[in-house]
């Protein structure tokens, strides 16, 4: 490994020189302070960015992405290239342990009074590594069921998607939330098995069998929000495991399409704010966090993203129809029933990856 290290250094130096010359050339034009934000589609709507820029004089560069790409991008640069990122809370600690890509959050710079305290505390707990906190909550939502009530009113839980009645008319993702959801729906608790690899493997084996069995029912595995919305909107599929936000968007167009909490519980996720290890605009990042958590601004983000935020009291500013849809999906009992993702221990994702590969390869 010794000479490898030497060589790696050369490689990194050269690529570093190339990248930095590029960056100098690029940033020379922009004099003002810049916040490079790596986030999800809809989390930084143009209207919000404009208000922020006008108020703070900080320019915001938005890059849309997803959990895996965020981690991969930061891993490739050792935590450089962005000033603020928004991974899901369950994906932070394992990535930090594995790749060391984040910087701890200075909680004193966060206006914690703006946040729903239960969510803030939960996120802090889940993103703590070696006593340091790496994430604070922003947007939350669930993976639930979106169904066309005219044609698929019988679907109450994830496993109902495998009912032969709906053969070729359902869709879900081939991603880890689906594995977790099916496990719950089959009466198992995968989260409880997170720290018991053997047990988890056992659960995954059962889920794999179920998903292979169910494959003939699936029209296509959706891969992005647009594909999902197109499938449901065109009525090519009548039921889907979907993000609640996407489901509510469709309800606004076609009231027959509704989002319901499955009987085994919706899967709750929270997207956070985290600082990349080599962030260059830390102050600007805190300014942005405190800015978007204001109730009125947070409500604008809810309008754009389709999901609610951890901002205290922002519900009041959200359009009445949106709130109604939310309440229809989540009566108080359903909220209590949400299964929140705990942090993923390292190594599980590799196991899940192979399960998904085998499901995809199955005929």
């Amino acid at each position: 490994m010794k000479y490898t290290k030497g060589f790696n250094t050369i490689v990194k130096t050269i690529s570093g020189v190339l990248v930095s010359t590029g960056l100098i050339a690029f940033s020379a034009g922009a004099q003002a302070e810049t916040l490079r934000l790596l986030t999800w589609g809809g989390y930084a709507p143009e209207a919000v960015v404009n208000i922020f820029e006008a108020a703070s004089g900080i320019e915001v560069e938005v890059t849309n992405s997803n959990n895996e790409e965020m981690i991969s991008k930061l891993r490739a640069t050792g935590g450089a290239g962005f000033d603020l990122v928004q991974p899901s809370q369950d994906r932070i600690s394992s990535a930090q342990i594995e790749f060391d890509i984040y910087k701890p959050i200075n909680l004193s710079k966060i206006n914690s009074g703006l946040m729903i305290s239960s969510m803030l505390e939960g996120t802090k707990k889940n993103t703590t590594v070696n006593g340091k906190v790496y994430g604070v909550p922003h947007v939350w939502g669930t993976s639930a069921l979106t169904i066309n009530t005219d044609k698929a009113s019988g679907i109450k839980d994830y496993t109902d998607l495998c009912d032969p009645k709906y053969a070729g008319k359902v869709t879900y993702r081939l991603k880890r939330p689906t594995l977790i959801a099916f496990a719950f729906s089959m009466g198992m608790d995968p989260f409880a098995a997170y720290n018991d690899k053997a047990k988890y493997a056992d659960i995954m084996a059962k889920v794999e069998a179920k998903l292979k069995d169910c494959k003939s029912n699936v029209k296509a595995y959706w891969s992005g929000g647009d594909a999902l919305i197109n499938l449901l909107r065109s009525e090519e599929v009548v039921a889907a495991m979907a993000w609640d936000g996407s489901g509510w968007k469709l309800s606004a167009e076609n009231p027959k399409i509704q989002t319901i909490a499955p009987t085994s519980g919706a899967l709750g996720w929270i997207d956070t704010f985290a600082l990349p290890k080599k962030t260059k605009a830390e102050d600007a990042a805190y300014k942005w966090i405190n800015f978007v958590m204001q109730p009125k601004i947070a409500a604008m983000i809810t309008e754009a993203a389709g999901n609610f935020t951890a901002s205290k009291g922002s519900d009041a500013f959200v359009e009445e129809s949106k709130r109604k849809l939310y309440q229809a999906t989540f009566p108080p009992a359903a909220i209590d029933n949400i299964n929140w993702y705990p942090p993923v221990p390292a190594g599980l994702e590799e196991m899940e990856g192979k399960v998904m590969d085998r499901v995809q390869a199955a005929k």
């Binding site: 490994m1 490898t4 490689v11 390869a361």
Partner: protein
């Protein structure tokens, strides 16, 4: 002595940008990748040198089956592209003259004015169950209900052939252009029919173009990512998608890098075999 030194210096200066480019952007990243592919993660941020990633490819049937499927479909797509592109190219090169020739040639280029993503979405709009073709079929009474033409291997094939057409037509038109009409006429005059003229004169003449077109199309198809992902069905696997998955979704750079090198080696082996079988040399076809 002085002048030759100056000439050599001049040559070095001329080549320098190219060499720096090659070294920094091609050779170094590849060496880095090779080193990554040769290590195995034993604990968080601890790695050991090993061939485990390469062994994984051969021991896990899923991976080499994905590669085999990708290779077979790429070869089929290449053959199909050749089959369609050959008459088109012959028509453009030999039957047309002047402006119409340029116009048809340009038509082959038109799909490349939009990005691959847009092109692929175009196919999705056409082929999906609630799409244009399905609706036309129902409207004309040729189909009773909606017809799904998306999400299967045939659709991938259509997409791949469509994307590859230009890269086959260009070398074919170039070589066929250089075929003298009198050779074809002599072929007929001496008693050959259309088929023998095609087999003994036109195809042997076009062979360098056929081979270079096939190599380019095969490599492009093998390395395609969007078309198989977007048009393919739920069972569709593509080797480049597997590499992407390893790098991005699984954070397994080691396996991804190993797959990358396997793709390079295996596809080179396939091209080499193809050249041997068609008794062509690379320099002849590319020169």
């Amino acid at each position: 002595m002085n002048t030759s030194n100056a000439a050599r210096l001049g040559l070095i200066l001329l080549l320098a940008p190219l060499l720096v480019w090659l070294l920094a952007l091609v050779i170094l990243p590849h060496i880095d990748m090779l080193l990554i592919s040769l290590r195995e993660r034993v604990a968080p941020q601890v790695y050991e040198r090993s061939f485990a990633n390469y062994a994984e490819f051969f021991t896990e049937p899923l991976y080499w089956r994905t590669f085999a499927r990708t290779a077979i479909m790429s070869i089929s797509a290449t053959a199909l592209t050749l089959l369609i592109a050959f008459p088109v190219s012959y028509y453009i090169a030999k039957m047309l003259r002047g402006r119409l020739k340029g116009f048809l040639f340009l038509l082959c280029l038109v799909p490349f004015w939009v990005s691959e993503l847009v092109r692929t979405f175009g196919w999705m709009i056409l082929l999906r169950e609630s799409g244009v073709i399905s609706n036309v079929l129902q409207w004309t009474g040729l189909a009773d209900g909606p017809v799904e033409m998306l999400y299967n291997d045939a659709t991938i094939m259509v997409g791949l052939v469509y994307t590859s057409m230009l890269f086959m037509v260009v070398p074919l038109v170039t070589t066929l252009d250089s075929l003298e009409d009198s050779l074809v006429e002599a072929g007929y005059d001496l008693g050959g029919n259309g088929l023998t003229v095609l087999r003994t004169i036109i195809i042997p003449h076009a062979m360098p173009g056929i081979v270079s077109g096939c190599i380019v199309v095969f490599m492009l198809t093998l390395g395609n990512y969007l078309t198989p992902i977007l048009l393919g069905g739920k069972s569709s696997m593509w080797f480049t998608a597997q590499i992407y998955t390893q790098f991005i979704t699984r954070f397994n750079w080691e396996l991804g890098a190993a797959f990358g090198f396997l793709l390079l080696a295996l596809s080179s082996a396939i091209v080499w075999t193809g050249l041997k079988l068609s008794r062509q040399t690379l320099s002849e076809s590319m020169g």
